[in-house]
Symmetry: none
Subunit: 117 residues, 10 copies
Amino acid sequence: MADASLLETFENPDTSGYVIEHTTEEFTSLCPKTGHPDFAAIILRYGPDQSCVELKSLKLYYHSYRNDGIFYEAVTNKIRDDLVKLMSPKWLELITKWRGRGGLHSRIIATHGEVPK
Amino acid sequence: MADASLLETFENPDTSGYVIEHTTEEFTSLCPKTGHPDFAAIILRYGPDQSCVELKSLKLYYHSYRNDGIFYEAVTNKIRDDLVKLMSPKWLELITKWRGRGGLHSRIIATHGEVPK
Amino acid sequence: MADASLLETFENPDTSGYVIEHTTEEFTSLCPKTGHPDFAAIILRYGPDQSCVELKSLKLYYHSYRNDGIFYEAVTNKIRDDLVKLMSPKWLELITKWRGRGGLHSRIIATHGEVPK
Amino acid sequence: MADASLLETFENPDTSGYVIEHTTEEFTSLCPKTGHPDFAAIILRYGPDQSCVELKSLKLYYHSYRNDGIFYEAVTNKIRDDLVKLMSPKWLELITKWRGRGGLHSRIIATHGEVPK
Amino acid sequence: MADASLLETFENPDTSGYVIEHTTEEFTSLCPKTGHPDFAAIILRYGPDQSCVELKSLKLYYHSYRNDGIFYEAVTNKIRDDLVKLMSPKWLELITKWRGRGGLHSRIIATHGEVPK
Amino acid sequence: MADASLLETFENPDTSGYVIEHTTEEFTSLCPKTGHPDFAAIILRYGPDQSCVELKSLKLYYHSYRNDGIFYEAVTNKIRDDLVKLMSPKWLELITKWRGRGGLHSRIIATHGEVPK
Amino acid sequence: MADASLLETFENPDTSGYVIEHTTEEFTSLCPKTGHPDFAAIILRYGPDQSCVELKSLKLYYHSYRNDGIFYEAVTNKIRDDLVKLMSPKWLELITKWRGRGGLHSRIIATHGEVPK
Amino acid sequence: MADASLLETFENPDTSGYVIEHTTEEFTSLCPKTGHPDFAAIILRYGPDQSCVELKSLKLYYHSYRNDGIFYEAVTNKIRDDLVKLMSPKWLELITKWRGRGGLHSRIIATHGEVPK
Amino acid sequence: MADASLLETFENPDTSGYVIEHTTEEFTSLCPKTGHPDFAAIILRYGPDQSCVELKSLKLYYHSYRNDGIFYEAVTNKIRDDLVKLMSPKWLELITKWRGRGGLHSRIIATHGEVPK
Amino acid sequence: MADASLLETFENPDTSGYVIEHTTEEFTSLCPKTGHPDFAAIILRYGPDQSCVELKSLKLYYHSYRNDGIFYEAVTNKIRDDLVKLMSPKWLELITKWRGRGGLHSRIIATHGEVPK
């Protein structure tokens, strides 16, 4: 089950302002209505403040959605919220791109703070 | 027959402002003059307010146009209007791209509110 | 309903042996289990003997599947059989390529006689 | 009206055996059923014997189909026959590729003699 | 758990010999050593004899591997064996393409009978 | 005026059998009927025997066609013949590719001896 | 130091004959003359007999070359030999592709047994 | 071990303002948590002031990270800091692009001063 | 001056038969007629017997042509001959691809023994 | 010889302000120092005022440079000047792109008036 306690941080080695981007093409959860699997790519971009999310813990956190029935919109906002709460970044952008289901494919974009171009 | 009552919503899980995009390449309706089938891709983008359109209901709603004789322009504006009435989104953009007929292919763009770039 | 009587022929203007190829990317029928629409491209290639299929009648014949619930495999073989019965061509190849449904996309290949490379 | 008398030849400057290929993407004729314009590319390849088709006359000959209502299959075979009659080449291949009409696009291949790979 | 009893067939509508190909890019199982998720595309091609695998049942069968810890090689051979046992096809080819893990990405190819080019 | 006496050779430094290929995209001559300029690319491939064509002399030889009114077919065969006479190569292939004129573009292929793949 | 004892096998789940392919683009060793790092992609293909190489152990085995000074040719043959000794496969092909050094880039291909196309 | 003393400079031959860019696709270090190798491309862009980094010394400096266990974020900021301290450039941008690990691939962007577009 | 004595070998670590390929895109020599620089890519492929050419020595050997005035054909055959004499390989193929001069660009292919596909 | 009297105009059918662009890839003249042929593409863009250049006359005007020995820069400025004198356009841009000679290829840009982006 989706578990934000899996997320770990390490101290930001540099607070002068820089950009971090982590991308996966291997996210999967379940449709809350049909129970069928959904597949997505996730692009995370943020400007770190005091801490950074540790990469392996991020991977395990993403894996924890594997058997959850949850809407695209809810996944996207929950991940955004969990990461903002964890790190209090200067800004953060989370994009989920969902492979098609029933001929429809979707993209959800959630942000926190002022996202630079 | 095109049936807006097929559309369902769920409560927006997050009202902090984000973007939803649903795309299909499998829309079909009939030409009102010749009865011949028309084929289109539809790109829907919107900023949700209190509610979001449920994905499976959107698919069935699109399917309900299958045997309707209706102009490109009418399809595009009716879908825009049905979705705006359903969800009262902050903004919404609907683009239909029609495969060629008689050597002409068309694109129709309808919007509601202030669409961000 | 799929209707082979829509197909018309015209006399082959030349019997010295040549190749005809007609392609559409706008075929649609229904899934016999769920009633949901299926979308396909169809590639027809044949070597005509005494007669050729008339292009507009072929289009209308393809359209007649629009509201039929029928398996991919059955569509492919039925079209192959209807066209072979209509024209008795020297050889014929029919390929259907189906857009994805539930994450699976399919291709069916049916032939008649000796298909040249 | 299609007029084979427009075609001119010049004496083949070399009879040791070589290959000539002329391609146009600017052929147009009319549909014999609807009167609507059809557009095609034409690829002509041949092995000359005593004579070669003169290029400007070929262009004018192609232009002479502009207002003829004629089937794809008939166009292809007629051009092939006119050129074979004109030049008696060792071999000849004529391919017409037709832009879509009603969602169908076609390719017709007619040959004379043994066409090399 | 991987469950071959999910697979259903329907009677082959035509036994004159044709080719069926089903592709998914949404297969996932678990690594038997680490428990981490694996992701694969699967290409299935076969020549049907008396029966064909039903598409929705194939999708559910693929989904049943979701929480199984199983090697790439074992997945590939098991799917091949289950489908051969189900349908007794004239021939069958199953290819799995696995997204990278630890910097290595893999492809496994299993066949049954004489696979045509 | 096209002048084969411009061509020079040097002694083949190695007779064990190898392949030479020279390509230009800057050939120009005149149309013998209209006087308008024609533009071509020329690909020359050959297996040298006792001598090789010197590169600068080949360039000047090609330039000597600049103001000649001459058919595509005649150019191609004359260059082939001049080079064969000059070098007596084991084999030779000459391909001319002509830019479009009046919407037609052409390719002429002339060979000498057994051309390897 | 390169250490074949890191390699582990598991029992081949199916001996009816199939193909396994593992690719990495993250191999690095050192030049034995200058000590500078070399980088390569490695493509391993084989037909398993009684056993298969376990994927994680293969990764660790590749990593064990990290600080070895060793020629391209020796790396390639040693990996081939270690894997053949480990698994006694029906056949095996190992290709290493080395990024450039001093403007030269290289590819080494080593095989065992009869490699299928 | 990462060693900034390896870096050397030479006097900037021109102080009127220009841009220097050095790219490598052959950076490797170790994961500080697992000890497994990480692979990255590094893009360095800067506007030189009084001095420029010497190219061979930059290569050796990058090589000195080979056996260090260090986070992506720390690598990126340390290289940026070492180069800024070395050269005091007008501006500098350092981008690291990391090959995937556990299905995640990352990009880190660190800057100094006002980076032009 | 081109100097075959720069070439060094090392003992072939494996005589079971494999393939080595070295490519450079940085070869330059002078035109023997005009003194202008020529630029080429060189692809060397061979099957080693008792010895292999050492990579750094190959680079220096290629560099030694820098100020030599020499024909394309002579370069190609001399390199082939020097390498065959040095290593007595089972087979060898040398391809030189020359950038354009005076609008002509060339490719020369020299071989030794039976070159596999 | 380059002959501006070949240029003809027709009356501009619309003076509300629009853009005309004519491109050729078949321009050739001679190098004034060596007599060797030069090849260029020419892009002409202008905003017409009272008159427009007639297309066939422009082609013949370009052809009239065929045997002139003239520098790239002189060609470009002369064509610009001839066309400005002929038409007095609101603005005009003439770009010549020359195929390589001796490894250099060139582009010359001449303008008249205020050229829009």
